[in-house]
Amino acid sequence: MLRDITLGQYYPADSVLHKLDPRVKLMGALVYIVSLFTFRDAVGFAAATVFLICIIRISKVPFSYMVKGLKAIVVLMIITALFNLFLTPGKQVLVTYGILTITMEGVKNAVFMLVRLIYLIVGTSIMTLTTTPNQLTDGLEKALMPLSKIRVPVHSIAMIMSIALRFIPILIEETDIIMKAQMARGADFESGNLIRRVKAMVPLLVPLFVSAFRRADDLAMAMEARCYVGGRGRTKMKPLRYQKEDYQAYLILAGYLGVMIAWRVFGARIWGLKLGA
């Protein structure tokens, strides 16, 4: 039932991508997102596509898992595409219907925006699929550490994040059990009008809150019993250290971003030259 919802959705597999330092993957996702907004033509689009396909192959995660993330934003995608389609002004008018006009530029914008959105979701879900939530927060903590110089509580934020992530599956499981237990006493969560349904949630929500507070209390106690006093002077059992592969990955990323930017800046000129010749 509820357990089938995957949050953080890590997919265990044995791939180079899984073994990379989380900081590299965070940076990689960022680089890829930036690159998506650099291309203006078919060549840049092709390059981003090839890069994405290579990464998907390397990750060894079934393609169906990445598509799952897309389902959640179908509505957003449709709205974005429609806005671009109808609201882009342009010279080449294709269709006019009442106040609605579709221009050539509008079609182009809509297609590119759609592609960008899809690539963005797929690209970032590769990061979450190949990195456990804990690795991700570790990576984030280390990458943002310089900010603690200006009094940003980086460690606390990372700790809050990892505890929250840790509790999500526990609370989902707890919800599942309480729901079943109340159903065993004849509770009905599925039928009736809105008011009845909201009322039916009480036997679920009260025990859930009680249990969440109890767990939070226990955890705080357990942390204090082990002398947790926050991030000051705290070291890691498994500190993140860059390996050879991580540097190689950074090089590849830099190369990719460089090419994409270069094409954006000089591409039109080369394109033009070829056409002229």
Binding site: D4, M183, R185, A187, D188
Partner: protein, 281 residues
């Protein structure tokens, strides 16, 4: 009353990377008035099995028949089934939610569609039979001790007057006194109300003294199914899968090896004593 399981299998998270077979081809028949113990180590599929008996989980394959009717038929009323097969979850005290104990116990009967009066009567009766002092009935369930909360939760299921009572590890986390109280309570219930009782546990010691039949689960399958005497004869195999027979079983086997002609099929201290005394008479 009878429940028949026909080659029931269940897979959690089917079709994902986390797929796991929790039940494999389980076939069982549970008859009226039996007192059955289901044992197996943690993760052997006990909880999964009992959630099938009242239709909370739907078997991935296989069929379940309650009083001769297939519970997976389109028009079968699962909510009614759940009032006939009362299921007390593990740590049931975590499901209390009402402002008073009495109201909480009324929740089940009210869901059955009974009137307020009738539900109240049922709640009264159920609370009395779990032995909760009357002075507590109108207090908040959250102020009780762990053992008391658990009794209230059991009363919440009893108030629906089920034909079968299933308890998932009702003694988990209780001290020895609390454990004996709950087990005695369940045993009395079986005797007085003549309902079938299924007691899930991972401790042989718990069930040996009370039940007439033991079902041993291992890795999602039924490993043994028989009277305690029959099952404990396999104490070596039970040990191999991480379970232990009651202390008396070991004692009797030891005595037999030393040459005393005792009966190795006894399961309780009382029976063991009689068997030993008989030799010296």
């Amino acid at each position: 009353m009878s429940i028949i399981l026909d080659k029931v299998s269940y897979v959690y998270s089917e079709g994902t990377a986390y797929e796991s077979w929790a039940l494999k081809n389980v076939s069982l028949k549970i008859e009226d008035g039996q007192f059955i113990g289901i044992i197996g180590h943690t993760g052997s599929g006990k909880s999964t099995l009992i959630q099938h008996l009242n239709g909370l989980l739907k078997a991935s394959s296989g069929g379940i028949y309650f009083n001769g009717r297939d519970i997976y038929e389109e028009d079968y009323d699962l909510r009614e089934l759940r009032t006939k097969v009362g299921l007390v979850f593990q740590y049931p005290e975590h499901q209390l939610f009402e402002t008073t104990i009495f109201d909480d116990v009324c929740f089940g009967p009210m869901n059955q569609g009974l009137s307020k009066n009738e539900a109240g009567l049922r709640a009264f009766e159920a609370l009395r039979s779990v032995g909760l002092p009357e002075s507590l009935y109108y207090q908040s369930p959250f102020d009780l001790s762990g053992g008391q909360k658990r009794r209230v939760a059991i009363a919440g299921v009893l108030a629906m007057k089920p034909e079968v009572l299933i308890l998932d590890e009702p003694t988990a986390g209780l001290d020895p006194k609390g454990r004996d109280e709950i087990l005695d309570l369940v045993s009395n219930m079986h005797r007085e109300r003549e309902m079938a009782v299924l007691l899930v546990s991972h401790s042989m010691e718990d069930v040996a003294n009370y039940v007439q039949r033991i079902i041993v689960m291992n890795d999602g399958s039924v490993m043994y199914d028989g009277t305690p005497g029959e099952v404990f004869l396999h104490y070596k195999e039970l040990e191999a899968v991480g379970l232990a027979a009651p202390q008396v079983t070991y004692l009797m086997h030891e005595l037999k090896e030393q040459g005393l002609p005792v009966d190795c099929g006894v399961t309780t201290v009382e029976e063991a004593r009689n068997s030993i005394l008989k030799i010296f008479r």
